[in-house]
């Protein structure tokens, strides 16, 4: 017989393995989107948090969590959204950063502690350089502040001449 604690551990593993629909090389646990898996009055409550206010992936993640946990025999699953504390790219795990880099996406630097002053220079990189995930060169330039998903910006490597994506530090 499976104990409640063992069953919760299984549920945690299943939830943690759910891939992000827009960054399928990493899981929701890697990204820090998965906040909690708990048993509440005989049902399973999974708590997730959005990366950005309008991120359309959150709905798909909730759906995927329901499907996978349902298929594993968890009949009563509630997926809850938590807004506070606000998601930070600092929550991306070391494993998540490695997987992103292996897939050609530069992981974020440490998020700014506060909003800071408005940057007034057009050319200089404001913080430490973003390293090319393909060749490791630090000689890179931002080509666009935004990218194909809410969480990414576009860069180009001057070393290997390849474009790449970078997860924004927030």
């Amino acid at each position: 017989m499976v104990t409640a604690a063992a069953s919760l551990a299984i549920a945690r593993d299943i939830a943690a393995a759910v891939p992000d629909p827009e960054l399928p090389m990493v899981t929701v646990a890697d990204l820090g989107i998965l906040r909690d898996v708990a048993a509440e009055d005989g049902r399973l409550v999974v708590t997730i948090t959005p990366t950005y206010s309008g991120c359309p992936a959150l709905r798909e993640i909730a759906q995927d969590l329901q499907r996978r946990l349902g298929a594993a025999g968890f009949a009563d699953v509630t997926v809850r959204t938590a807004l506070a504390p606000a998601w930070s790219s600092d929550w991306i795990t070391a494993a998540g950063r490695r997987k992103l880099r292996d897939a050609g996406i530069a992981p974020p630097h440490a998020a700014p502690r506060n909003q800071g002053p408005v940057p007034l220079t057009l050319t200089a990189t404001r913080c430490e350089p973003v390293t090319c995930p393909r060749c490791g060169s630090a000689d890179t330039a931002q080509t666009a502040a935004f990218g194909a998903t809410a969480c990414k910006a576009l860069f180009r490597c001057r070393g290997c001449r390849e474009p790449f994506e970078h997860v924004k530090a927030i």
Binding site: A57, R68, L83, P119, A145
Partner: protein, 294 residues
């Protein structure tokens, strides 16, 4: 990507009960599962009215940005605007949902966005203005995001925990929007004589709408611990704008504020002519198919 029977895309082709027809659809209440009780001592109707103001600012401005899609000079800038519009739409959805829950009359985000009349919208006039050119777009985005960021910075400590959470999250997004806009204002202002002239002219056209942003209103006054006093962020926003304008070699325009109509403006439901056309476009699909789900 390896084949995965549980892929998020696989699940789209299956029959479900939640009306999903494409990625990201099947919308549910954006505050589902969040404790939405109104804290003791807070006037629930005033809280609803306040969230409506902030939600309308984001909804209407997001729509104006979406109207730029397919018209931007470069793909990268179009992607940027689409992302900014999406962030604001996300903020609008949560704020309208919060307004509906606090109001307690059963109105959800869709009813509030699509089935209110012009005079029931509470956005500031800056949000509904149509940009005449790219310089106006950059200038308006800088002013709007610097102002909203200052408000959200204060609201992160609001006595309403839901509003505080929305603001703390949104502030990160707004700081990024502000920095993006500032880069363009500097690039244009400190660019060629032509770009400088057009950026300066754009500021002159937008500036009459700035005074309204810092106008004290009755709703905010009724919520001392919950709302952010707009007059209280004026100095902070001025400092940001002055810094950017100086770097961009631009002058702060010396123009009279747009006259209020019998003392009333956007926060009172008095809008400009352009707003009616915007709203007609925003609401037409929902009104033609009132029972549709998405």
């Amino acid at each position: 990507m390896t084949e995965d029977e549980f892929s998020a895309y696989q699940s789209l082709s299956e029959e479900t009960e939640d009306h999903r027809w494409a990625f990201g659809t099947g919308f549910t209440d954006p505050l589902e599962g969040i404790d939405a009780s109104v804290p003791p001592g807070v006037d629930a109707q005033a809280l609803a009215a306040y969230c409506l103001m902030l939600g309308d600012d984001a909804l209407i401005y997001s729509h104006r940005l979406q109207q730029w899609m397919t018209r931007m000079p470069e793909l990268e800038e179009e992607t940027a605007l689409a992302n900014i519009a999406l962030d604001l739409l996300g903020q609008a959805r949560m704020l309208l949902a919060r307004a509906g829950l606090a109001e307690g009359a059963g109105r959800q985000e869709d009813q509030l966005a699509f089935f209110r009349e012009e005079h029931e919208f509470r956005n500031v006039l800056l949000a509904e203005r149509q940009d005449a050119d790219f310089a106006e777009l950059a200038g308006r985005l800088l002013i709007f995001s610097a102002w909203r960021l200052a408000l959200f910075g204060k609201l992160a400590a609001s006595a309403d925990p839901v509003l505080a959470a929305i603001a703390a999250k949104g502030a990160k997004e707004l700081a990024y929007h502000r920095d993006y806009a500032a880069q363009w204002v500097i690039r244009l202002g400190d660019g060629t004589p032509v770009s400088h002239g057009r950026m300066q002219a754009a500021l002159g056209a937008i500036w009459p709408l700035v005074t309204e942003l810092f106008h004290r209103d009755a709703v905010t006054a009724a919520l001392p611990a919950v709302a952010a006093d707009p007059a209280g962020v004026c100095a902070e926003v001025d400092a940001v704008l002055d810094t950017v304008l100086a770097a961009a070699t631009l002058r702060r325009p010396d123009v009279a504020p747009m006259a209020r109509v019998a003392g009333r403006a956007g926060r009172d439901g008095v809008h400009t002519e352009a707003f009616g056309y915007l709203l007609a476009e925003l609401q037409s699909v929902a009104r033609a198919h009132p029972d549709a789900t998405w």
